[in-house]
Amino acid sequence: MSSPVLTPTTNKSQYAPGEAITASWVATDPDNANLTVEFAGHDSQGNAVVVNAAITRIDNFTMDTVKILDAPGGAVLGSMTVNNAARTASGVVPTA
């Protein structure tokens, strides 16, 4: 039950008012784990067999909102449109 690690990136660091802004991100999660599925059985002569298969448990990440604030923790100036399938968000830099 660990929080994901989110690394967002904007297409630029400096914008003009009214300019389009796009963002993308990479999320990794400590809860992701490599698991083993163990298959144990036997035949009618009593010969046992055990076979393992590796699987990965993925803790999926969902971006809920991407907003533009006027300062850290400040007023919301605008919201960006989130596309979780493409792991991108798009919007427009506020003009005021």
């Binding site: 994901p4 967002p8 400096q14 914008y15 008012p17 963002a23 809860d31 803790d59 990440f61 850290p72």
Partner: protein, 334 residues
């Protein structure tokens, strides 16, 4: 320049939430460039301010034939924070091989790191390395060496910015001559073997550059306007607009600084000089309205008669003085 925060909020499938903020900077919404002045010394700066008004920015130069300052307190910009003016300053590396060896010179890189670490926080500064390099290529360094210097120094600026945080307001950029660099009549220096219009930055290099600058001057009474020499080919001598200064600089996608500009008094009336000063500022405002992504953030008039037989200063010229005062006041007005 205000900073905005882009707030990313998400969660994983086991209900763990995460919020990450990323800071972006946004250009001022005003179309007016900041106007500044370059003078020869603190004394002439004070005289200018007394006779005119306090400009919004001050242009200074370090290094070259003089010893580089080791701290902000010993730099020519040391009085800018108290005066409330933005610093636009440049340095010419002159230690341990200079520009040509900067990327591999521990002495030079340590000097720049320490110099930047001495910079006051919350003081807007536009820092340039070796302005107008065309004058010195290929004699002092090659274009490739100059570009490597700009990138290496830009990396140091970014490292210091990361370490000192968002209140560290030093931004890094190059200043070229501009029109004359891209003028096919310029065969005297800089153009061979680089060739006219062979000035470029790759995307990888541009990530270490915050702004781009140039220095347009009206050296001759026959030069119609700053707009003309910047927006027509060959310093405005041609009527074509296929490889102009503004096209070139806008192609970098960065805000611009006019590090120096001037209008000569030579062979033209005070009224003509005054009109060109006012027209230049009006063109800068118009440019910014039309180009919000690549605006002219600041422009610094070269009020310094350093060039032999050319008069840039205005204090003895009533109409030019009034024109320069007028645009300085307009730039400061809301």
């Amino acid at each position: 320049m205000p900073n905005y925060t882009v707030e990313f909020k998400g969660h994983d499938s086991t209900g763990n939430a995460v919020t990450v903020n990323k800071t972006i900077s946004v250009s001022p919404t005003t179309a007016k460039p900041l106007l500044g002045i370059c003078t020869s010394s603190d004394t002439t700066w004070a005289s200018f301010v007394s006779a005119m008004t306090l400009p919004q920015a001050r242009r200074t130069f370090e290094g070259g034939g003089a010893t580089l300052p080791t701290t902000f307190a010993t730099s020519k910009a040391k009085n800018d924070p108290a005066a409330g003016v933005m610093t636009v300053t440049s340095f010419k590396p002159n230690q341990d091989g200079g520009v040509a060896t900067f990327p591999t010179s521990t002495i030079q890189k340590n000097w720049l790191t320490n110099y930047l670490n001495s910079w006051p926080l919350n003081h807007p500064t536009r820092l340039c390395g070796w302005h107008e390099p065309g004058d010195n290529m290929p004699g002092s360094f090659t274009f490739a060496q100059y570009k490597a210097f700009i990138v290496a120094a830009g990396q140091i600026v970014q490292q210091v910015r990361a370490a000192r945080g968002p209140q560290f307001l030093v931004e890094w950029g190059p200043i070229w001559e501009g029109p004359y660099d891209f003028d096919s009549s310029n065969t005297g220096y800089g153009q061979t073997p680089y060739g006219p219009y062979d000035w470029s930055w790759t995307a990888a290099e541009l990530q270490y550059i915050d702004w781009v600058g140039f220095d347009p001057y009206l050296w001759s009474a026959n030069d119609a306007s700053i707009e003309r020499i910047c927006t027509y080919d060959d310093s405005g001598h041609l009527n074509t607009q296929t490889r102009t200064t503004m096209q070139k600089f806008a192609s970098f996608g960065k805000k611009m600084i006019i590090g120096e500009w001037g209008v000569t008094s030579n062979s033209q009336a005070d009224s003509a000089k005054a009109a060109k000063i006012t027209a230049a500022y009006n063109w800068m405002k118009a440019w910014n309205v039309a180009h919000p992504v690549t605006p002219i953030e600041a422009a610094l008039y070269f009020h310094y008669n350093v060039d032999a037989n050319v008069t840039w200063e205005v204090l003895s010229l009533p109409q030019s003085k009034a024109a320069l005062l007028g645009i300085l006041n307009d730039a400061k007005a809301a």
